[in-house]
Symmetry: C3
Subunit: 348 residues, 3 copies
């Protein structure tokens, strides 16, 4: 897969990542990575999920990262790792050889006179940078990015392409933001003015805060994170957001929390550390979610959560005919329960 041919031997991999090479030639040259079923003799693969163990015997991979127990009966070459997926991730990064953008500013970029761009940063074509903003060394702004006023892009952070930082957005170091993401747009604040006669109008509540994103965060394509109304919307460090997530104003997301695609978090909610939020889940506003909470896909969280654990809502998938027959009974559930007699607390 690498554009520039790149090779590393099995022995070098073992040495560099502190892994044990078992049953293989240390001089074997590895040129890429692949799945167990797709990798060839010059490629490395991995076995992390036990359900793929059956594929190991058929694999043509030249080298496979796996746990010691899996390596026991394995005929081929193995790199033994306590956590094969983490070890694979680190090794695979060697083969992710995107052409590095050279430092410097593309001639088409439009940069406000009061903005500061480090000479070690790379600014691509059609990038606009507004008043008072700063871009640190090693940062990379791909084509079409817009950085508004009073923003900061920390050292080594990457805005892949067409990312917008609207205003007062501060990114830490090594933050990775994918295309179409919008950080620092106005939060959704409106107040209905009933004093102006028979047709009340909405009045916009000015959004004056910013967005702060800690080191090592990743923000997915077309994800939106609004600026706070008065204080900042905050992502602590190592927060991982997938695509099309909506983070409303004044939300705070704790370090190491990960969210799958299409999650929506309403305003002023605080989410703890090491939470895992499933795809398309919704979290209502003004809630507190403690550390280490798991929310399953498409669940709606309507109250604060004080205990770590896994939470869900919704109904199971059914064929539509059965579903309709049962769903209509949901409307009678209270009547049904009353007829049967309310279960005691112990039962529920």
């Amino acid at each position: 897969m690498p554009r520039v041919p790149f090779q590393i031997t099995a022995g070098e991999l073992a040495g560099r990542f502190g892994l044990e090479l078992r049953g293989g030639d240390p001089a074997l040259a590895i040129e890429g990575v692949g799945t167990l079923s797709g990798a060839g003799p010059a490629q490395l693969s991995f076995l992390a999920n036990p359900k793929y163990r059956a594929q190991l015997a058929q694999s043509s991979a030249g080298l496979v990262v796996m746990r010691g127990a899996d390596a026991e009966g394995h005929a081929g070459a193995a790199l033994v790792a306590a956590d094969p997926y983490v070890a694979y991730a680190r090794i695979a990064a060697l083969f992710d050889r995107a052409p590095a953008a050279d430092a410097g500013i593309h001639p088409s970029a439009v940069i406000d006179a009061t903005a500061e761009v480090d000479p070690g940063a790379a600014v691509g074509p059609f990038v606009a940078i507004g008043a008072g903003s700063r871009v640190a060394a090693g940062a990379r702004l791909g084509p079409g990015c817009v950085v508004g006023e009073d923003c900061e892009v920390g050292a080594g952070s990457v805005l892949v392409a067409r990312v917008t930082l609207v205003r007062r957005v501060r990114l830490g170091r090594r933050v990775l933001v994918h295309p179409g993401a919008v950080l620092g747009a106005d939060g959704f604040g409106i107040a209905l003015d009933r004093s102006q006669g028979i047709e009340p109008y909405w009045v916009k509540v000015p959004q004056l805060g910013g967005v702060r994103v800690g080191d090592d965060c990743e923000i997915g394509a077309n994800t939106t994170i609004d600026r706070g109304a008065l204080e900042d919307t905050v992502l602590e460090h190592d927060v991982r957001l997938d695509n099309q997530i909506q983070i409303a104003h004044n939300v705070r997301v704790g370090a190491h929390t990960a969210m799958a695609g299409c999650v929506a978090v309403a305003g002023s909610t605080t989410i703890g550390r090491y939470c895992m939020i499933g795809g398309a889940a919704g979290i209502a506003g003004h809630l507190d979610i403690c550390d280490r909470v798991v929310v399953t896909a498409m669940t709606l969280v309507t109250h604060s959560i004080r205990e770590p654990g896994e939470y869900s809502s919704g109904t199971p998938l059914m064929d539509s005919r059965s579903w309709r027959r049962n769903a209509v009974r949901f409307k009678q559930l209270d009547a049904l329960a009353r007829r049967v007699g309310t279960p005691s607390k112990g039962e529920a």
Copy 2:
């Protein structure tokens, strides 16, 4: 918070907004706004939600907007307002001092010879404006906006950055559109052609209508509003849409209706005035929703609504273990109801 230091006295605020200053020095200079807990002696705050009343006593804010009843026992300076949140919103706008874009067209902008841009409009870098489109005085098109053919941007309307108006989109006056929003993309119209042999293909149904957006609407980041199939998709005036909302072709949204983030409205549905649609709610196509309907978060609306009021669907949040135990019973609900005996209409 203001970039340019800006001051106004408590007395001037009272006079300008028709509010009563109680217990404070009219000469007190206010330089910004903040929350009750964060504001300092030169800042103004507000108390609207009674649950924050306890914070009032501890607040260091120099001046607080509040109701008369709350001002009774308050030791500090108060601006008394019938609706403190609306009064605060109007005052805070004084401190929202974004550097105004100068009128004029950035040299990098590419404007079709048949387009008309008022000299009093501001067109930023990397903006493209297509054939026959018009931009009125006081309008502002931020960096990277694309305006296609036959579009209109009304007086004082703002496309913050990277907004796309695809084709036949007409925005009224003072419309605010946030980055990444796409108005006027083709509606989703396809017809399956079964006449072409054993493998039927989809045929695209041309989308020939436009999008009309009334005065004073706000459209959130990455929200999409498709053009109509034959007639226009319409937002009446003062409609307020949060981020990542999807409005399909030929939808009509009544004046003053507000939608929270991630709502999806399917084609040809009509929504009344003063409706409030909760986050991530879905509204099916070809429905009529009357005025003053409230839909709670993540509810799916599958039939027309004729009565104002609040509507919901879904199940409560539970720990996943309890949820699984109960959810599996949903599949037996009809059988359960039959065993118990169908409740009478009166019960349900």
Copy 3:
């Protein structure tokens, strides 16, 4: 509606599309299309859905496409078609006369020296094309599109505006991609490294695959399709995706499958041919969905589906007061069922 006046006679339409003209003058000039209620004497309309039959008598349309049975009692001119909606779609395309972009490269475009753009392609303003990418004849890249490294845009494909192909994205022929769509962003792959002391960190799993999109696909505004982790994310031919859909890494979508807005499909799931996925539905990861599956709006699919048919989840819409009364009972459903006695398999 056409910018350039365009006319075609009723007789020519009948001849070109192989339809029977009944009760009308073959010389009647048709200048546009419209709804039954909106079309005038020089416009063509259609009657496909029987629920609009009542509008037919009142219609002023000069010519109406309809089934033979509907034409029986119709006083005006009819074009008789076995499938009026498909016939209308083909006819209406004649009137969709967007100004065609001229072939050639806009002077503002920035194209890598190693990229190949066919002289018959049209590349608009502010387009960036990266190393090794290829754009075929008849392709059109509208304003602000970004094409990264190693991408291909097939013959006749259109990126309307502000589309991003991040890396290793290959589009077939006649693919239509609407503004804001992002194809080829990194899939969401992270592994928690517990070996680094008391605060485990996420390690990014490199995303090295690409995205392959077959001929005749349509991809909606702000939709995201991630590149695969090792192998490609795949859309077969004639797949139709509405706006704001999220397709995660290594998903495979079968030919002729259509998805309404805001659907989310998690990683490594395979979806068959001729499936119809309703708006805002969610499909969990690592599932197999067979051909000809229909999923209703906002349904969550949590297990593989082996049988064609329609599937649903969720609860019906209710007024919130009734909903709360019933929803709270969902928490007691298992206890209720135990009290009644578990229904036998035959009952459920």
